[in-house]
Symmetry: D3
């Protein structure tokens, strides 16, 4: 029985910036189980119930409203000893804010992870999103990350976050039509699915169009494991110099907001020995 030999080498958190919804967390726990490396101990969590109203953050204002709990969750995870964490939304919601107070934990997110992979596997890529509403903000993120010149474009299929997993046949049709434009009209050489809820469709698209298709949540989880290992093996940790300076620890401790539990909603913990191969 080999699994007993494996002990956790590092811990990775996948944090969904939405309220608890059981099937939601299970969806991403399955993704984590499928993409976990043997030594990874993982947790999939969402935000505590008290901001429980949000089952999507398609709006900037909704993101703003869940961000304090993201900040609290990231800080709690850091203090609990997590090595890396994913904020599970393709807006890369609050990733810069979270990095400021993540201590020695490294924070990453789906858009960042997906673009890095797409840029390594191709020269130009397209991003398939739900609604036109999202494009402007995501485009700024892609440009901030340095991938602006690699974009063939954003492609909106006209579905909201909560629609993707409702009618799989419809979702597949929408994605296929859009991917065709990206690849055959605009010469995309790889595709990114620009919403974590587009989970489950990338392999079909890959087969159909013969280009790499990147699922953002698993990409982000893989990247978080990479950075956790990098930290464990090379000792690399977030800079705290100049613009990376964190608030003074004692000042934070006087602010209730940082200190009051609960910090997570539904938690699913996946041990290192969970999926030994």
């Amino acid at each position: 029985m080999e699994s007993k030999w494996i002990k956790a080498m590092y811990r990775v958190l996948y944090l969904s910036p939405v309220a608890p919804r059981p099937r939601h967390e299970e969806l991403f726990a399955d993704m984590v189980r499928a993409h976990k490396w043997p030594e990874t101990e993982a947790r999939v969590a969402c935000l505590p119930a008290h901001v429980g109203q949000f089952n999507h953050v398609e709006f900037r204002s909704y993101e703003a409203l869940v961000t304090p709990d993201l900040i609290r969750g990231v800080r709690a995870a850091s203090r609990e000893g997590f090595d890396a964490c994913v904020i599970g939304c393709f807006y890369d919601t609050a990733v810069l804010e979270a990095r400021e107070i993540s201590g020695e934990m490294i924070v990453t997110a789906p858009c960042e992870a997906s673009c890095d992979i797409a840029a390594t596997l191709s020269n130009r890529f397209g991003i398939i999103v739900g609604r036109q509403k999202w494009v402007n903000q995501m485009q700024k993120t892609v440009h901030r990350l340095g991938h602006g010149d690699r974009l063939t474009g954003f492609y909106a299929v006209g579905l909201g976050v909560t629609d993707f997993q409702t009618d799989h046949g419809l979702t597949r049709r929408c994605l296929m039509e859009t991917a065709d434009r990206a690849v055959n009209r605009d010469h995309a050489e790889a595709l990114i699915l620009g919403c974590t809820m587009e989970i489950g469709f990338h392999k079909d698209l890959e087969r159909m169009f013969g280009v790499p298709v990147i699922d953002p949540s698993s990409a982000a989880f893989m990247r978080a494991q990479y950075f956790a290992r990098l930290k464990q093996r090379s000792g690399l940790k977030p800079s705290r110099k100049w613009s990376c300076e964190a608030p003074p620890e004692d000042e934070m401790q006087t602010l209730d907001v940082f200190e009051q539990p609960p910090f997570f909603g539904n938690e699913i913990n996946i041990p290192a020995q969970g999926n030994r191969q």
Copy 2:
């Protein structure tokens, strides 16, 4: 008595993203009185006391923590009939988020206002800030606004937000030394004071260096009045199309967070007839 002739033509809110502190609000109420146009009815306010811990938002995480109350305040102001509003921090904290739910109210902020003025009065300008910590984030804002090529640089004097009004002699000395580098070494043709708490020093610098020096809070308040008038006279209002789409009004009304008062901390209301000239 001429003041009776003046009736409010539009209403402008100056919202400080910090907790109530009486002398703080008075400082900005004085600024508003000095820069108000006759027909402007104004309010100076801060955030409600329940997020009362913050007397500065020098950190991204602090900004994130006050942002939900900013969002609530901006939405409340819009529903109360304000025409324009300033978010009073040189980070232009949450300006893009606030615009999403501002309805027919136009939102502006100090960095945006100051850069537009500096770009009209000069070809290149420098920005004098408190601490090096701030620079990276503010630089991104200036680039996002489209003024990146006009920057001679950011200049940190080594003071925190709450230091500027503590020892005026020290503040003046720090600003003078730094302005000298900006103007005479880097060829800045105008200067912006990159913190609303640097209020009160711009005229001295202007006299000393012979270049326009822009105070950010009054610049933002002037700009808000400009947009309020533009709205009143030309009927221009924020776009609600594509990326400017707001969350559905009914969805917002089901979210407690948008609906629970109080929306403001200390409020100082300044009537239209307040400073008729």
Copy 3:
């Protein structure tokens, strides 16, 4: 009679870079009357008759030929005590040259004014122009101003400057068709009319497409009033440092070109009490 209470607080010039043509000046005088603030004393003028051949400046060479008289007019207005001035062409003709010799007067122009408004009311906007000829030059202006990333595109309707006011039905149809492409194909969230002679059509487009539509001449006149007030209230004036240095006053006085009247063609003066509300 309330109007007697109002005295001019600042003076604004709207200068058309074309030869005198009575109905032309009246058109813009009406615009000024409709968008004037109570305290504004305004003048609408065009160039003196001796360069009277130009009724449009669609060509760079035509702009170059009217520019000396623009320079002379701007300098004359500055010496007459005007606080702000608009150069009334969407090319923002000679605005950088005029700023050099405008003394304490602030110079602005339609493209600059319109883009600033569009960028505040939306994230991305389109500009509807007359002929494809204009696009390249105007695009450079929009990029110089820092709004390049906000452009969905320029849209040429195929009409010349002097055509817009000839057959209003045709103009409306052309603008409607083009606006549809900008908004519905390219996802423009606001529109700018890229010629001062497109005056009169923006409200129809606004109603039809549900996005802000910016009329450039009134935008520029509003902006000039804003800067005039800013100057009067905050004492801000153009920088004269480094690249903003003006020619030596005594050298200019030896150059006939700066000193010989007339400086304006048809002048329409609109007093401060003209439109008290």
Copy 4:
């Protein structure tokens, strides 16, 4: 006598945008003689005496005032059959305007010519100019041309246009000190002299610093000959499509400004057989 074999294959104009001053034209006529190719027939000219006040165009407003005569001169040269023309100022004064009405004649200028050469002979170069005043405008030209990333910087020696040829010892010392900073501090790999009046010093600098040093007026004249030959051999002429459209010829003919001689001040004509080697 070999020179009889040479007949003019193409004609090139070097047009100084200043008033006639005999030694000035001779200076550039000597430059032309030294850099002429055998088959080139050349003319060195300045503007007609009636705008005769300008012996430099250090200011944007001065450039604007001489531009109508530049336009007239360029159009006249085109109609006289010149194949290429240089506008002899490192601001590349009015080059875009002149190109519009140059017919089949190709227009070039010193900054454009110098940067192309510097970019071919090195990866990064510095530009040594007279006064800080000039830098902002020239920098925009260099960026417009596409060479922004190759600039180590602009270096102002503190001399005006008319100073360079006054005290050669002083000029040499200023240039040497400045070149040292460009090459040894900022790692410039080539230098451009950013004023046509810096003529005569580039060889000394080249010897001292061991990098290519480009004299802008001869660079521009060489480039004009290149384009004249290209036109003669390959039939390439300026585009007149879209933004390159010229004003209608008949409209121009009704505008006195294009038609009234004189078009040039002092003319020095240098025949093809002038310097056969």
Copy 5:
């Protein structure tokens, strides 16, 4: 007999980065004869037979495989006393590498030459290439050169390098259709043929579309002559400072790869007196 009067003033090499194929070299020798200036002594050559497998370098890996022989050829030409050289492929294959070891010889290439001409004759241009495969790499070159903002786009006709000269009727049809899109849909004002093997078609396109159409191999050869003359007349040579530093001559001499002949495949030498006009 005038030709006896002409002696070579400078020597220019046109080097095709492919294996010897007699009709290939003759094609470019004819081009050289048609575009040579009287004083130019020219050589058309290809790579030595031992890398003889390549008759095109459509792939980055193929370019990499021929580059060592390009390097050797360029170094040999420099030591033989050539003044300028063209690397005859629109990828501008290895031009930066070749410049490093070209000694006093100036290296240029078709894309660089064509874009400079197109930018001088128009404001925006399109590039017609063979296959979509090429576009990404060539686009990077155009951006590196500084012409990114002038591109209306790349247009792939769907033909490979070796197809262009196979069925001239087909080639002409493909080019015509594509040019139409570039000029009439995308508003290109000039066209560049983005493959040296598109030779022979530019005049037809020019006649059909009324815009300048640039043949890249003759453009590069003209530019090489320009730089050769510049070197001979102005003494300008490549910088060897900082990033332009060449490997130490003695180190190169110990590396067999630089020293072993043959350096060229088929050579066609064209004397200065060859085409005296």
Copy 6:
């Protein structure tokens, strides 16, 4: 004995683009052993002896001369079944060329790997290199990768590739002095050592300056393992569409250059069970 449980899950090649030199390969084999993940089977290799002259590739021309063997080695590794490969030089030598023919193997390199890490751990970073010669080329790579705005600068210590491991005391002193400028003058928040031969010094710098310091060869090897795992777990492979198209396999097989062994110089193979933890 737990190690027997580990079987190789993927294979990674670290390929030095220099000739065999025993201590050189051992240096990187030690690095690989220290940074290997348990399931990784690794090979450290250099180029075959027949291009054995190069012990550094500081020059573009030297890179060009070793590139054909890099291409051959990468293709051989791909056919041998390697999943990912590092080209071990901070120039990221030939990484775009190698990707074209790497089949299903993913290629990465030190500069790409280091910048991605630095951008995740900080907002701005500096790169410490050997000689000024390198800077221009490396800067272009950093910009191509999309990290240009994050650079505080390149810092040359004045040592060549082969000097870094000669006098460790000297190297340490040079690096310390330079790092101080990067961090304390230019506000770098992380540092990258810009040469694989700077190996061994990063921990000292990290301790001294309190910022993350990234060793490029181990960064690249970590990244290669990440991509190998990504490929094995998510099935992601390089795109072969549009610009990513490889040469036709049958054409490559007719070209001797791709087929003739040897493909590697000194090979050190490190099994998966080598360093089980």
